[in-house]
């Protein structure tokens, strides 16, 4: 389980900055989103839904109508930060080919046998070993799902709840099947993102948190990793 701190994955400054800005925005969005949800902890499909209308899912949460004021203020402020920061990250990732080099699975990683092996390692809670110099395939797929699928879906389903935006772009209603459908999908995607966050944090804690946190903050490796770096330098010569 010591693999990553010896690994050669280093985070450039722009990745570290956008990572933590996104982390702060996401926590603010999740907390304020929950506050807003409490005004109607019920989910519906289609255009309409209300407290006394039949629901698809009635969440086991207390109804609280008093939290939407601050909830909405924080939610939309954090949403702007999430979106602008996310666009910056995406543009930079494409421009520097970070996305294709770091996050797209390599050819050998998409072979069924390799994927099956990685799944087996994870099911046995075994780390990928000390020689890892890249993200494993499941990790890459999780990151890609967050960046390219779940985050854009959060934005689009969020916009489908806006009466102003849907007036200009009514196609959003057709895309998601209505305002309440979009609200339901917004909740489901948010739940997946929270699940991702839980696994993400657990993986950090289980794989040398000090070194990984150092890597994602000041961007330098732990002293213990020095031999690996020397080895890396020698290999480059």
């Amino acid at each position: 389980m010591t693999g990553r701190e010896d690994g050669r994955i280093r985070h450039p400054a722009w990745v570290r900055a956008t990572h933590w800005i996104n982390a702060a925005a996401f926590v603010a969005l999740a907390v304020s989103g929950t506050a807003i949800l409490l005004a109607l902890p019920r989910l519906f499909w289609g255009e309409t839904g209300a407290l006394d209308a039949p629901a698809w899912i009635a969440l086991p949460l207390p109804v609280n109508l008093e939290q939407t004021g601050w909830g909405r203020n924080i939610h939309f402020l954090a949403a702007w930060i999430f979106v602008l920061n996310g666009l910056l990250y995406l543009a930079w990732s494409l421009a520097t080919r970070h996305l294709s080099r770091r996050l797209l699975p390599d050819a050998d990683q998409v072979r069924p046998a390799h994927i099956a092996g990685t799944v087996r390692e994870h099911l046995h809670l075994r780390g990928p070993g000390p020689t890892q110099t890249r993200y494993n395939v499941l990790q890459k797929l999780a990151y890609l799902a967050v960046v390219l699928v779940l985050s854009p879906l959060m934005l689009l389903t969020g916009l489908t709840m806006s009466p102003g935006v849907t007036t200009a772009i009514p196609e959003l209603f057709d895309l998601f099947g209505g305002r309440q459908s979009a609200r339901t999908l917004h909740f489901l995607c948010a739940s997946l993102l929270v699940a991702f966050l839980a696994v993400h944090v657990w993986q950090v804690l289980a794989n040398g948190p000090a070194a990984l946190m150092r890597g994602m903050t000041i961007g330098r490796r732990a002293p213990a990793a020095e031999p690996a770096r020397r080895h890396e330098r020698e290999a480059k010569r």
């Binding site: 949800l37 109607l40 255009e47 839904g49 939309f76 102003g164 935006v165 200009a168």
Partner: protein, 248 residues
Amino acid sequence: MSDISRRKLILGASALGGTGLLASCERIGEGGPSRGGLYGISERLSFTVQRFLLRHQPLVREFAPDAISAVFPTINTTDPDDAAYRRSKEIGFSDWRLPVRGLVANPAEFSLADLKAMPARTQITLHSCEQGWSAIGGWTGVPLAHVLAVAGLKPEARFIVIRTVDGWWDTYDLFDALHPQTILAYGMNGGALPIAHGAPVRLRVERQLGYKSLKYLASIEAVDRVDGLGQGRGSMVSELGFSWYAGI
């Protein structure tokens, strides 16, 4: 239906001296509602982007009558506790008057019959509440643009202040006030507007959340600035921490 309303919008706009003024109303800077801090920045961002998206004044989606919701929630005031209102209600609002004043050439008071005699518009739309619920209802009324044109809105008017029987007040810039689907509704789902939904007349501002569609209208006033009203935030709910602009 929308053609007639578009004509009304043009009528309203021409009373203002052309569409140039409409365009300039995309700014709410001078004399507009103010909000400081980070929330002010994000509200302004949302407002600016939405005004750009809505610059051609599209209509909100309208539905067929069979889409009308069986359950349409009513919140906040559902029967104003006001002596004059109760008396008026007992006589079918026959003594009810809606004053239109401020920056208008012909200040006037309109009765319910006056409003019903004006060109009507019926729209079946999706109402969305900041609490998360939404319902489809059919609304019949006269476009606010028509009423303002009749009253002779002056060119220097930039905002419309609306006050209600139960003490709510809100302001709208002309971009929204003159939109064809912004109506003074006296009918709902084919019948008279129910008490719980704001009888005798409520406002419908379809491109924003429900809290901008005030119920129990008491007065309409045209002004050139709203920064002197209350705390200068533009509406009663803004003073409680909600956004003045509720398109999101």
